[in-house]
């Protein structure tokens, strides 16, 4: 994975010094809260329901064991002993003190980490495929391109006061494991007819109040124009994105209001102009970055044998591991969704354990997924049982990847001052209702996502089953949506009808799964059955 050179290190160190000075000026009163707020947001520091919350960046979801260990230590030293992994592959701490944040950031900088632009009206953390560099279906590792874009977007002077936040995802396979089309810019690395690698651009996707699927704006951008094209897309947005209404300020609204063709025309015009300026890094820079993403030293003789006689282990292998491009290896997902647990949360001890296990069994590397789980990308099959036993002993061995138990949930009203309803208790109840291995196996792949408000941080629009928390005259209420999907077959969930209270929504979810089980044909997933039979049978079962 990428290692900082002295320039990268100086940038994060400078940022810490800058923020330390800004905090000093805030505490002395020289900066008002209005003046300070945008500055602290661009260092990931939110004010939440209980305290300051800090969002630390995990660039394209990749980190090493030394970094993971520090994340655990920070949870103990600066917070209350745990962290929360997010739907953008970052980690959040909920009880941070402003006066301690500069020191915290300095400790992160010492292990090449930061909280730069994880909030604010700027380009945010760039996300990617959690199986990058390990899955057989990628045409290239997408992460070097994400790293190139990360550096381009960091402290970009023209794009630090955008109309709104800006989220980019980069993938390199047909199978979209990063919900690419639901980003402001989604990039898919592709091969053209001549066999050359280039970038396919999708612009104007997003969740939130008005979910939209990004249309393709450019079928192929050559590698030596990647930054220039990105800059053109951003400049058009900076100039013409709406600034009159916070809820209409994302680029998806601009693309929608201009129409895809007109937005594309404006980008192409800006692109043609920018190509006359020397703003593109040389290909040598991309090559330099790629040298950090070479394959680990796989054991070519690693055995493909796996002893599955332990039934719990077998279940975990079937559910939570994915084929690796290298014989004798697997990609292993650690579920942070124990039955009845808080989705995405991990204690400091668990975080440090995962750090150690990555060092011992995964070439020192981990990934954070946008489904709030952790991945060990390169595990020898021969080590898998030992790894799983260690995980299982720490309540990290739940075998529920992509099943109904693998719930994505935002922090909700328990933590977030934007929320209308609590999301975590709903996740816990659903998790318990469907807690048995038999039930999860019966339901198969079922992506359930919960948001505590319309800002949709839980990605509920993209859930096979989605739940949206609302405030109904001061009382928490939950809407049920069906049929969303974040993959290459992106679709947005449809509301079933009137909302429910907390117990009601859990019952409604169960009724929906029963409709699926009664109507399922062959190997259909819940999503497939819903798409085939439509909303009516579900609606009738739930409300009839």
């Amino acid at each position: 994975m990428y290692k900082y050179d002295e320039y990268d290190q100086e940038m994060v160190d400078t940022r810490v010094a800058e923020f330390r000075d800004q905090v000093r000026r805030r505490i002395s009163g020289e900066l008002t809260e209005d003046q300070f707020r945008p500055l602290r947001l661009q260092n990931g520091l939110y004010l939440q329901l209980h305290a300051y919350m800090l969002r630390v960046a995990v660039p394209y979801g990749t980190l090493n064991s030394a970094q993971m260990k520090v994340l655990g230590d920070i949870a103990d030293k600066y917070d209350r002993g745990y962290g929360h992994f997010t739907t953008r592959q970052n980690i959040q701490y909920n009880w941070i003190k402003l006066e301690e944040t500069p020191d915290l950031l300095a400790e992160l900088a010492a292990v090449e980490m930061h909280a730069i632009q994880t909030s604010g009206n700027c380009i945010r953390n760039i996300s990617s495929d959690q199986y990058a560099g390990a899955a057989a279906d990628e045409i290239v590792d997408p992460r070097p391109y994400a790293e190139l874009l990360r550096q381009w977007s960091s402290f970009h002077p023209e794009f630090l006061t955008l109309p709104r936040k800006f989220k980019i995802a980069v993938i390199a396979s047909e199978k979209d494991r990063a919900a690419m089309k639901l980003h402001d810019i989604g990039i898919k690395m592709v091969r053209n007819d001549a066999g050359e690698i280039g970038a396919q651009f999708y612009v104007g996707g997003g969740m939130g109040r008005t979910p939209m699927i990004a249309p393709m704006i450019r079928e192929f951008v050559p590698l030596d124009q990647l930054i220039t094209y990105s800059e053109a897309c951003l400049r058009v947005y900076n100039r013409y994105g709406r600034r009159d209404n916070k809820y209409k300020a994302r680029i998806k609204i601009l693309v929608h209001e201009l129409g895809k063709d007109e937005y594309t025309r404006q980008v192409e015009e800006e692109f043609a102009h920018l190509l006359t300026m020397p703003i593109e890094p040389p290909l040598a820079e991309l090559e330099r970055i790629k040298t950090h993403f070479v394959e680990p030293a796989f054991d070519a003789g690693a055995s493909d044998e796996l002893d599955l006689s332990d039934p719990d282990f077998r279940l975990w292998v079937e559910r939570n591991t994915h084929a690796h491009k290298q014989a004798g290896y697997v990609i292993a997902t650690v579920s942070l969704k124990p039955v009845g647990g808080i989705p995405g949360d991990a204690s400091a001890d668990q975080i440090r354990l995962m750090a150690q296990l990555a060092k011992d069994y995964s070439f020192d590397e981990l990934r954070v997924t946008h489904a709030q789980n952790i991945v060990f990308p390169h595990v020898r099959k021969a080590d898998l049982y030992t790894l799983w036993q260690a995980l299982d002993a720490a309540e990290l061995g739940t075998a529920n990847l992509d099943t109904v138990g693998d719930i994505i949930a935002c922090p909700g009203l328990d933590y977030c001052s934007l929320a209308n309803a609590r999301s975590i208790p709903v996740a816990q109840k659903i998790s318990q209702r469907f807690g048995s291995a038999e039930k999860q196996a019966e339901l198969g792949e079922l992506k359930l996502k919960i948001s505590g408000c319309i800002n949709a941080c839980g990605h509920h629009h993209a859930g096979h089953i989605g739940i949206l928390g609302v405030d109904r005259k001061g009382v928490e209420n939950y809407q049920l949506l069906l049929g969303g999907s974040e993959g290459a077959d992106t679709s947005l969930g449809q509301i079933t009808g009137p909302g429910f209270d907390e117990d009601g929504i859990v019952n409604a979810v169960e009724k929906a799964t029963n409709v699926y089980l009664s109507n399922k044909q062959g190997e259909e997933r819940f999503l497939d059955t819903y798409r085939r039979i439509g909303m009516a049978p579900f609606k009738e079962a739930i409300y009839g």
């Binding site: 209980h50 328990d414 816990q428």
Partner: protein, 98 residues
């Protein structure tokens, strides 16, 4: 009653206006009647608090209970982590929120 809540600038802790100062305990919250905006302006001006706002509350023999569930969660702590709330040993605390 109208009560004021905000955050401590340096620590981020949730605090409640008592009439003379700021307390971590919502039961110390005072009724500010129509003076809320003026108190916020003054107290924020000298940095005793920031991000302060007025909410409805109800006083009873047990203490002060904010009218909206959001401020009750704010007052106590996350309902899903009783150990991190202001009343980790009180099994009835969650009922007070809900």
């Amino acid at each position: 009653m109208k009560i004021l809540t905000g955050n401590d600038l340096k620590t981020g802790a949730v605090i409640w206006w008592t009439g003379v100062g700021w307390s971590l305990d919502v039961n110390d919250a005072a009724d500010v009647a129509e003076d809320g905006a003026a108190i916020v302006a003054r107290e924020e001006g000298v940095q005793n608090v920031f991000a302060a706002y007025v909410v409805d509350g109800v006083r009873s023999d047990e203490g002060v209970r904010p009218a909206h569930i959001k401020e009750r969660i704010r007052a106590l702590g996350p309902t899903v982590r009783p150990d991190l709330t202001l009343k980790p040993s009180d099994p009835d605390a969650i009922n007070w929120v809900i």
